[in-house]
Amino acid sequence: MTDSGPGGASADAEHLHTTALLDVHRALGARLIEFGGWLMPVQYAGIREEHRAVRERAGLFDLSHMGELFVEGGDAGDALAAAVVTDPRSLAVGRAQYSMITAPDGGIIDDLIVYRLGPERFMVVANAGNAATVSDTLVERLAGWKAVLDDRSLATSLVAIQGPRSVEILRPLTTVDLDALRYYAIAEGDVAGIPAHVARTGYTGEDGFELFVEWGKGPATWDALMAAGQDAGIAPIGLGARDTLRLEAGMPLYGNELDRGTNPFEAGLGRVVKLDKPGDFVGRAALERAKRAGPDKRLVGLVVTGRGIARHGYPVDAGERRTGIVTSGTQSPTLGKPIAMAYVQPADGEPGTILDVEIRDQRVDAEVVPLPFYKRAR
């Protein structure tokens, strides 16, 4: 997303997907933008206020643009293990893992969450802009296995509630035992009488839940949570605050930190890649080489100590030498200072290193810091 300020392009609704919640967003006064081929709310009350609501209370997100790909069959586990970098066979039923799907050269096609719904049934959640590609790629890679893919992206509404008060808001509404539902776990049950998959996952650095329901039940799910959360101070949250929340939490965004030209080791996600799992998988040979050779670039956190805010695409220098580029940057609402993630040459990536970000032709000091920028108290 670029400048949505004065004179910025308004979203053209006619060529975009819309979620079942579009009218709800409009009624809440949301500003809508194009994101990943979808018309989505970028903000309601304002990014800082929404950000604070999630850190301190609870926020409600419409994430129906995400892709939900169900993989089923006797070979579903083996087939997925051959298609992605993790080993979904190692998941117990009702558990989830962060994963990635790479090209044969090890470049990241998308980052994913894989949920095990049953012994032979998985749900793969992909980013909106990549969902069609991931769906097509998985279909190709499932060929020859006893496994079929059912792309339910346009049949599923995804509503997330995130923030420290999420549990108390959701608990009275659902048949799922939330106290037994651990982080990165998923269970089936009802939410406000609506059949749902309830997952304890998210993209904000806070405790929270993602609720997968039938497409047409999105608005009723949203309304029930909004009503139940009134006293706790729940607020609707747009993609703007979603981005500042995930950035503070040090979580990568596809298209910024992750892309086809980046492998998981460079992204600092080497631990996700299971090179020792049984059987071959797409990208294995290239990823083994990448691990042996060591990364060409390293993803780091930066705190800008000079004047200005580092943004996506700004060059990063070590002295007079160009060392890399900013992938994401903003003014951190929680820390009250400018933060960024950047790729730099590995030798320039040690915490404490002072680098320069080129902000409108000015060199501005930035210090390499460990990620994440923000970690919630437990």
């Binding site: 670029t2 300020g5 004065p6 981005d243 805010i309 903003t330 003014q331």
Partner: protein, 126 residues
């Protein structure tokens, strides 16, 4: 709706002309579109400005926008308060959120700026 004693640009700056100086800021509409302003980069006193040339940058959490000089002249003063309180641009865009004062180079340029009703029309439905 917009203050009737100001002139405006199509880039959403406002101008208060007072003799041979003009005070400049961005309109409430612009501030609302930007969202929470977190950083304002302004020129120092003495900087020469050309009409409709960029004179600075305003950043919200999400967006970066250039600021355009409504009139030619020389910067007489920049609002130092915005260095520590950029949120004044949102809370008081026509008052404490002002950005620069320009010593005018050509007072005749004022005639090229929008009247309040014309600016109002520009932002209607926006």
């Amino acid at each position: 709706m917009v203050p009737s004693d100001l002139r405006y640009t199509t880039d959403h700056e406002w101008v208060r002309v007072d003799g041979d100086t003009a005070t400049v800021g961005i309109t409430e509409f612009a501030a609302g579109q930007l969202g929470d302003v977190v950083f304002v980069d302004l020129p120092s006193a003495g900087t020469k400005l050309d009409q409709f040339g960029t004179f600075g940058v305003v950043e919200s959490v999400k967006a970066v926008s250039d600021l355009y000089a409504p009139l030619s002249g020389e910067v007489a003063e920049a609002n130092a308060d915005l260095g520590t309180k950029p949120e004044l641009v949102n809370s008081d865009p026509y008052g404490a959120g002002w950005m620069i004062r320009i010593r005018l180079g050509d007072a005749a340029q004022v005639a090229s700026l929008l009247e309040p009703d014309a600016y109002e029309k520009l932002t209607a439905g926006g």
